[in-house]
């Protein structure tokens, strides 16, 4: 199949990643894949209010996903969030939670702010990929980085990294997943559209393989920031 942007079925869009992009944050990162750009910033660990949310055993990870008003493809996105961003914030949190260890921070909170400056599908995935880099940059204890990417099913074929046209106009089945390499487990899975049980299994295998490609980009971006410090002299 020829994809509308000329990619091969299993080809990701061009990517850039940069760590340490928000000076006021304890950790931050930017991840761009095609026309989707996500920024993530980590504030904390810090005091958590309201107090009833505090956990005496460990700190709480709290994610906040937001699309900037001008980031959409069509109409302006009304500020103030809504049901969609609430849900995405929640699944993002669940996607990242399995790797972070906040036992050193009882009763506290680690806030992860995710902002999309421009979008062309795969925004929650780009947000998760950026967020896990930002958490590593903030020095949070974590078993691994988390990578997210969307697999699609279009005209009976599996495609990697679904773009906006494929998602909205061509009606691809959209399957965003998040993958944790060291555990070999999937921590985000949503499906929008039809797919058979066999194809889903294949889709997940493809997703895993492609996530590992993004993983290399995450690692490189993190090392670049810190190696520069060691070498620069």
């Amino acid at each position: 199949m020829k994809r509308n942007d000329g990619r091969k079925n299993d080809q990701l869009r061009p990517m850039t990643a940069k760590v340490g992009v928000v000076k006021n944050a304890n950790g931050s990162a930017m991840f761009k894949i095609g026309g989707t750009t996500a920024y993530a910033a980590v504030h904390g660990p810090r005091d958590l209010y309201p107090r009833f949310k505090q956990d005496p055993e460990k700190g709480l990870l709290r994610c906040d996903y937001n699309m900037m008003p001008f980031s959409g493809h069509g109409n302006r996105v009304r500020p103030g969030g809504g049901r969609r961003s609430k849900e995405i914030s929640m699944v993002t949190q669940n996607a990242i939670n399995p790797v972070v260890n906040l036992t050193d921070f009882p009763n506290a909170v680690v806030d992860v702010c995710i902002e999309l400056t421009e979008t062309d599908a795969g925004t929650r995935c780009a947000g998760i990929t950026a967020a896990s880099m930002a958490l590593a940059d903030a020095g949070i204890e974590m078993k691994d980085l988390v990578i997210a990417m969307s697999v699609g099913m279009l005209e009976g074929e599996l495609i990697a990294d679904v773009n906006g046209v494929e998602d909205c106009e061509l009606g691809a089945t959209d399957i965003p997943i998040a993958y944790i390499p060291s555990m070999d487990k999937i921590s985000l899975l949503q499906i929008d559209g039809e797919i058979s049980r066999e194809d889903l299994k294949k889709a997940l295998e493809l997703g895993k393989k492609k996530c590992l490609e993004i993983y290399e980009i995450q690692k490189k971006a993190l090392k670049e920031k810190y190696s520069e410090k060691v070498k620069s002299k």
């Binding site: 005091d47 260890n101 940059d137 980085l145 060291s182």
Partner: protein, 239 residues
């Protein structure tokens, strides 16, 4: 098969495989999963024979009893002050720990410490639930008047201080500034305006190059060039 996948001073990211095989021992900042040892946070590797340790390069300050830290008053209560410690937790400075003076109940506490005041204080207690007490009673503990507060990552504080205080002493000597380094990464600098800025620049440079070889030398050269002073390095070796 036992293989070491990294070498000393390598920068690693969370989840990165450091070694394979049961012969290696995971130490601070690393963990074992199946037969592999992996990094548990971002940091620099230090291998000592079979023990693999990770030196954190970033992360929040964790309050420890005995640490001298620079705190900021954020609330004044009946029984003392609540202070920010630049960690996930605030601390309490009680009346008895604030001064040797007798403070009558209901007295105006702002005459001792007001909101936004900075002090160098010492941690006396940290509970498992991270309730923290600090004291102002001890040598060198005091309110910091004037000057500026800058921050560095708390993991870089040992480098800023240097061996037996050699690094910070050198910066003081070069800039004629009063400098107090808190273990929580807050640093107070007080001096002539241009000199304060130079001291800040030097400390930021130490933070940035904290893990490079020959750090003392490079900072010495930097300061000598900026001040045209000849500097002596006391105590520290050239490592």
């Amino acid at each position: 098969m036992e293989t070491l996948k990294v070498k000393n001073r390598d920068i690693v990211v969370p989840g990165e495989t450091l070694a394979e095989g049961m012969g290696f021992l995971p130490s601070r900042g690393t963990y074992r999963i199946r037969k592999e040892i992996k990094a548990q946070r971002l940091g620099m590797i230090s291998v000592d024979k079979k023990v693999i340790k990770l030196i954190p390069l970033t992360g929040a300050y964790l309050p420890k009893v005995g640490d001298k830290i620079i705190v900021k008053v954020i609330d004044i209560m009946m029984s003392g002050w609540r202070v920010d410690t630049r960690s996930a937790y605030s601390a309490v400075l009680g009346l008895k720990d604030a001064t040797s003076d007798y403070i009558a109940k209901g007295a105006d506490l702002t005459q001792y410490f007001g909101l936004e005041d900075h002090m160098i204080a010492q941690i006396t207690n940290v509970t498992s639930q991270k309730l923290i007490d600090v004291t102002m009673r001890g040598p060198g503990l005091r309110k910091l008047r004037g000057g500026r507060i800058i921050t560095v990552n708390s993991h870089k504080v040992p480098r800023v201080i240097g061996k037996e205080g050699s690094m910070v002493t050198m910066v003081k000597q070069a800039t004629d500034c009063n400098i107090i380094v808190g273990q929580n990464g807050r640093i107070w600098i007080d001096g002539e305006p241009e000199k304060e800025i130079l001291a800040e620049e030097a400390i930021k440079k130490i933070e940035k190059e904290a893990h490079t070889a020959g750090l003392t030398d490079s900072i010495k050269k930097f300061l000598e060039k900026k001040t045209s002073k000849k500097l002596e390095v006391k105590g520290g070796s050239q490592k």
